[in-house]
Structures are given as C-alpha cells and as structure tokens.
Symmetry: C2
Subunit: 151 residues, 2 copies
Amino acid sequence: VAELVPKDGLNAWKAFVRAHAAAISRIEVELEAAGMVPLAWYDVLVAISSAPGRRLRMRDLASELVLTRSGATRLADRLEVAGLLKRERTDEDRRGAFAVLTAAGRRALRTAWPVYARGINQFFVDVLTADEARLVADALARVEGASRPSG
Amino acid sequence: VAELVPKDGLNAWKAFVRAHAAAISRIEVELEAAGMVPLAWYDVLVAISSAPGRRLRMRDLASELVLTRSGATRLADRLEVAGLLKRERTDEDRRGAFAVLTAAGRRALRTAWPVYARGINQFFVDVLTADEARLVADALARVEGASRPSG
DNA sequence: AAAGATTGAGTTGTCAATCTTC
DNA sequence: GAAGATTGACAACTCAATCTTT
C-alpha cells in the first residue's frame, strides 16, 4: 500500500479516535454510577448556563453541541420532560424559543460537575503535563477549525 | 465556582471533544460525497482484512470496534445485505461465525482508503507540525490507557 | 451451564417535510 | 420567501431475552 498518510500523522489520528471513545465512555460510566445526568444532558445544561442571559436559542444550542436542529429539539424535549429546562417564547421574535434552566436543572448541573470534573482530571488532564495540555488545546483547536464545513 | 479542573486542562478537554466531533463528521461527509462506504463500514472492512486469516469472529469484531455483540450483528447484517461481507460457519465450532470479505468488500476497502486518507490529512495531519503529531499521539495514547475499565 | 450469536423492544440521533412568524 | 423550530419516518445502536451448540 502506498503511504498516503505520514506514519506519525496516522498514529496521531488513531490515538485521537481511540482516546476519545475510551475517555467519553468511561466518563459516562462514572456519571451513571454516581446517579448523575448523562453527558449529553450535562452539555445542554452547561451550554445554557454559560450563555449570555443564561438562555439559549434552540438553533445556538444545536451548534454548540454539534447537533442538527432536530437533534437539539429531541434532546431538549427529554430534559424538559425531566424538568431540567423549560422553553421560553418571547415577544421580540415569536418564531424562536429560548431554552432556560429550571431550579432542578441548575441543581443537576452543580451536582454533576464534581463527578464530571473528576473524570476529566483522572482520564485526561492528569496524564498530560501542563505543556502538553496547552499544546494539545492549541493543536486540536486548529483541527476543529479545519474541519468546519467552511474550512 | 471552585476550579476543579485546571484552566489549561479544561481548554484541552473541550478542544479534544469538539475537534473529534467536527473532524469525524467532516470525513463522513467527504466519504459520502465520493460515493464511498461510511466510516463505520470502513472500520469493519479494515478489521476483517487485517485479522489473521482475513476472517474475524463476530465477538472479536465487536471488541475491535468498541461495540456490543448485538451492535456488531446489526452492522454486519447491513454489510452482508450490501454484498461486502459474508458469514462463514465452520465445523470446528458450529456456534460461531466468521465474517469474511467478498470481492466487493475488498474493492470497497481499496477505493475508500484514498478518500479517507485525504480527509485525515486535510482535517487533522496537515494542521499539525511533525512535532505536534508525535506529541499528540503520545499524549492521547496515555489518555486511552488511563480510560480503560481496568485503569 | 456457558459461549457464540441473533432478535425484540426501546433510545437517540438524522433527513426531509411542515408549521409559524418575520 | 426565508428563518426558527418541530414532527414523521427511518437509521444505528443498546439491553435483556432467546436459540443453538459445546
């Protein structure tokens, strides 16, 4: 086989894919074991909580989470049924809806964070040196940029 | 909020998650546009092709791809319907089945690789320096190790 | 009984079509 | 007509139960 990808590059790619699968599924297990919300829900809670005004358009939620709009709708539906968020429609633009957290949503966010943070540390941050962490952040930010539909 | 994860570490984690989502979905798009098999199918073809004897137990296919056994069954079903693989039962042990590639499966593997390789280069390798590629490979290999159920 | 594999039911996402509001 | 969001139909996986062979 011709070498279409440089060897070091291919090794990096494989490590990238495998590390992601391993770390994410491991953190899911830890959250579940601690009785916390799943990662996908946590991501929703964080996105809303850190948005300006602590509210987020469905459209922006989708793009934050790298989901389609309908995917974001389904996901928000489940959190709404669980009582963690509600949709607020406003008179500024009655087409759209804002997702906002309920008290239970804010509580779920607070209680899940220590568990999630422990996972991030244990399975990711702790195995990197400080220099590596900065370099990885920088390098992978460029990967995201290159992978966007426009780029 | 107390800082449970060092800032640089958290940035690296976020970049890691977002870069993965962006790069994988972008490569899927490129494969689709070129009329090639989806990434999940490609992974099946590679796993079988690189197994000893170029055949793979369903159980081993599942573990290679980080899937459940039933997930592997469903996936293999689809490739079998598409004519890319077939199941072979042998007399050594009539419980199990081996997945083996058909001629069409081998051809799909050969033709998809250049497209996949171009995606890996364009959206990942090309935005890294050679040093970064080596460092990322090394660092993320440790992440995978730390995330395994045993570790 | 245990191992290999599959099937039925349910979950979570996508795409295309639709509804409402601008 | 276009933008924001949702819905219907379907795709790909998981878990628990099942079937066959050891």
